[in-house]
Amino acid sequence: MGPQHPSTHGVLRVKLKLDGERVIGSECIIGYLHRGVEKIAENRTYQQFAPYVDRMDYVAAVSSGLGYCEAVEKLLVVEAPPRARVIRTILTELQRIASHLLWLGTHALDIGALTPLFYCFREREEILKIFEKYCGARLTTHAFRIGGLQYEAYDTLEKDVERFCKDFESRIVEYETLLTQNRIWIGRTKGVGILTAADAIAFGVTGPVLRASGVKWDIRKAMPYAAYDQYKFEIPVGTTGDTYDRYLVRMEEMRQSRLICLQAIENIPSGPIMGKVGKVLKPPPGEVYHAIEAPKGEIGYYIVSDGTVQPYRVHIRPPSFINLQAFDRMVRGHLVADVVAIIGTIDIVLGEVDR
């Protein structure tokens, strides 16, 4: 399947070894979108590098931005003010819903259902409008700054988010009626691309794919960051680790994110939006590894600083890159038609895989 295949979510080339219809082995050839982000990081100051982070996982730019800002704040041993942390949580959760919606739309389209794509994009449009009102950009938002926020929350933010959350519940029910009970959808997804819990951990898979295999682990609960410790929400867990479970886990995650947003907008604390961070950031030498729960999995930043304005080394742990490793294990023994479904269910974004 060549790099420009319609259903590989970007430039991913998969070499499949087939026995008739069945797949025996597969090899992913990546690197078509490699822009050398980590090398660039060593030649930029901390603030200048922030926009690059959005370009990696362009579908969930807000969460990668949050990860980077919090990592540098940890480097500086500085804490963002409570108001900033709450607004960050709201925007990250909205971004998670948007990323899952895009995943659901394209995944359903690969398997042949035409309509869910348009429903999902209709909701995603609402979220992107909120982003646009807040920080001017829809996709690569660069919404956060190291130490807090750049822009004050625009006045109707609470109302917009509330309106969105209110009718999003009925929308999820709409998707569910279309797909969850649908005999053909179950036929195409149940028992396809099974990943056992042991394999998942061995392959370092994180995020919804790991949780669908039955491992109840979410960084938002394990090591709470931003304002996640203030809110109540559950972690959906699957049982068999097949495509259908991953579908259910992600649908449930969207519901949980919606709950978080609702709880968050009730009381956004007042106060400053920018922490005690100087114009020029010179973090004391040393290193830090900070990971947050991006929609695709654990995105980690390992930053080494040598005391100068520019980071000495920035390494990004991309969830899609590592989840893609499990693709070969999941695709063995399935038909060609399932390969497309499995690529969809791992939910990879090639910008993040290639960095």
Binding site: I30, G31, H34, V78, V280, K282, V288, G307, Y312
Partner: protein, 223 residues
């Protein structure tokens, strides 16, 4: 070298013409903390303001885990420290696999979150291979470091954590560190016939693809 596209910022010329950003010229990259013009020093006590000598946040760490580890491996543990409340163990390169197995089985660090490397050209053993492991049971992170000189091989941990497969290939692709025992160590992101290892400090950011472009496309790279 006509470098119109990229921002003119050659690395190894520290005081080249700076982009018009407001930051004052950077002094020699010795570890001088924020200079006087920084606004009010961060009030947080642990990061003292400029006057104090460069605060090294890395304090030696010895909790019961480190003692247990030292008891088991003794000489292999070169140094244990804590940086910003994150435990770091620097271990001996040869016994990495053994230590990894111990960590995974006995200490329940069952997931290798991240494997990467850092290049310190000025040190004698220039490469620092960094492994970030995480334990579901103890909900703890630990960072293992192994020092390796230019031509030295680092034992591969693919046997212990299969996720290391692609990450080690990427470190080899970017740094040129050879991982002995890796199933198929070849470049993962860059084209196979690429010369040089981009993430090394001595690899200039500008002339990256001249060799590859001249060879494959037969034209001069536009960098």
């Amino acid at each position: 070298m006509a470098d119109e596209s990229k921002e003119p910022k050659p690395v190894h010329v520290p005081t080249g013409d700076k982009p018009a950003s407001s930051t004052p010229p950077v002094s020699t990259p010795s570890g001088k903390p924020a200079d006087a013009s920084a606004p009010a020093a961060p009030p947080k006590p642990p990061a003292p303001a400029a006057p104090k000598p460069p605060v090294v946040l890395q304090t030696p760490l010895d909790n019961e885990f480190v003692t247990r580890f030292r008891a088991k491996f003794g000489a292999a543990l070169l140094e244990a420290m804590e940086d910003r409340k994150q435990a770091i163990l620097i271990v001996e390169r040869a016994r990495l696999v053994e230590i990894a197995l111990h960590l995974r089985d006995d200490e329940k660090f069952d997931m290798l979150s991240d494997l990467t490397a850092v290049d310190w050209p000025k040190r004698d053993r220039r490469f620092e291979v960094v492994l970030n492991v995480y334990s579901f049971a103890k909900n703890e992170r630990l960072r293992l470091k192994v020092l390796a000189a230019d031509a030295e091989e680092v034992p591969s941990v693919v046997g212990v954590w299969p996720t290391a497969n692609w990450q080690e290939r990427e470190v080899f692709d970017m740094f040129g560190i050879v991982f002995s025992g890796h199933p198929d160590l070849k470049r993962i992101l860059l084209p196979d016939e690429w010369q040089g290892y981009p993430l090394r400090k001595d690899y200039d950011i500008l002339q990256q693809d001249t060799a590859w472009v001249r060879e494959n496309l037969g034209i001069e790279s536009g960098q």
